[in-house]
């Protein structure tokens, strides 16, 4: 392996992490939206959200990525691998984030809502001033957990030919006829990235505990 090989694997790692971050940036607010739909018990929509969350949560990421990439053209929507990957990853993380937000919403004390109502706050202000600041704190550990899980499952998009970390390592391996070293290198970089996120998670939880939010 020469410097170029190392560099290409590093690039792959960056692409993988950027893909997961993009999907998380879209998926976390979408998950909140879905959770609010289920919380508000909107007719029909809440059932659709329920089925969606259940289906996606039981579906392996690889299978979902393959489904999105190969099946959408049947309906006349032809996506390049990158948008297809982002779509699949977003669909998946949205379902998980919805559950995190929803468990915070379900445990939200009803009397606070009543009190806000009695003070004459309208719907928007009730959510903005009373509900959201609290469920945000309650959801943070769960969200962080989901972030690390998402970063760990993103290499699944390799199956549709995106040159992310796994593909990059495979490619180097087949060029040098030594498959093992590139994978060890890839594992080391990727573990380091996940490790940083795990540490961040611990740090945030500690901060929250010190401030008495948890």
């Amino acid at each position: 392996m020469n410097a170029n090989d190392y560099f290409s694997i590093l690039q792959g790692a960056l692409l993988t992490v950027s893909l997961s971050i993009v999907s998380l940036i879209i998926g976390i607010p979408l998950g909140l939206g879905l959770a609010l739909i289920r919380w508000a018990k909107l007719p029909l929509l809440k059932d659709l959200a329920h089925v969606y969350v259940n289906l996606i949560r039981s579906c392996p990421t690889v299978t979902l990525v393959l489904l999105i990439y190969y099946a959408l053209p049947e309906f006349g929507v032809s996506l390049n691998p990158l948008p297809a990957a982002v779509l699949a990853l977003t669909l998946s993380t949205t379902a998980f984030n919805c559950e995190v937000w929803r468990s915070a919403l379900v445990e939200f004390p009803k009397d606070q809502l009543d009190a806000a109502y009695a003070l004459g706050l309208n719907q928007i202000n009730r959510m903005r001033l009373i509900v959201f600041p609290q469920i945000w704190r309650a959801s943070l550990p769960g969200l962080f957990n989901e972030i690390t899980l998402q970063i760990k499952s993103t290499p699944a998009v390799a199956v549709i030919g995106i040159v992310e970390i796994t593909r990059a390592a495979l490619r180097v391996g087949s060029n040098t006829y030594e498959p093992l070293p590139p994978f060890i290198f890839a594992l080391l970089i990727y573990s380091a990235i996940v490790f940083v996120f795990l540490k961040l998670q611990k740090y945030f939880e500690l901060q929250m505990k010190e401030k008495g939010y948890l």
Binding site: P60, T63, A71, A156, V159, T166, V194
Partner: protein, 218 residues
Amino acid sequence: MNDFAIIWSHRDSVWVGLLNTLVLIVLSGAISIAVGLLLTPVLVGSHKMLAKMVQFYVDAMRCVPFLLFVYLIYFGLPSAGLRLSNWAAGALALVLYNSAYMAELLRGAWLELPASILDSGRSFGFTGWGLLRHIMVTPMLIRALPMIGNQLIQILKDSAFLTVIAVKELTHELNGIQSTYFIPFASFITALILYWIVCMVMEAMMGSFEQFAASRRP
């Protein structure tokens, strides 16, 4: 609908895939719970050096994405002089990866156990292995049951990754049908629904286990 008819005509290979996935889940689930049970006392034990080593293994697995780990096992074993079939290599990867998670969540359950259980076990003269087997294991497993259920579902999802080393599991078989007949939607929707059913059955089984455990709780 014609597409689904094609899949129905290939139900034998779908069945092989489903069966392989199920066998992989049951086998690696059972082995990793067993290994987790063996590692947990080491993790919380007094032998600092051993505990550190096991903790390192657990942390390493938690930082590694499964797909990369599969390739590492698949390419690494021959270099270590071990020749395994793809299926066995995949199963080994599942076991090694999930044992760490099982050990970690069982450790959590162990630490949550009231100290009185351990103390009363000791005062009845149980030590070491006997203490573990007769006193600790049952309440620990009961406490960890919901998390073990989650981890088993995680194993189901990890097993789909094994398609990259051509293990004949569900995703692999349906991907094969898909690429032969160009019916991606029908194939992968079938896979998705089958995974869903398996998950629901697993959840129902865990639920009845939990009820049984709750009824036996003193």
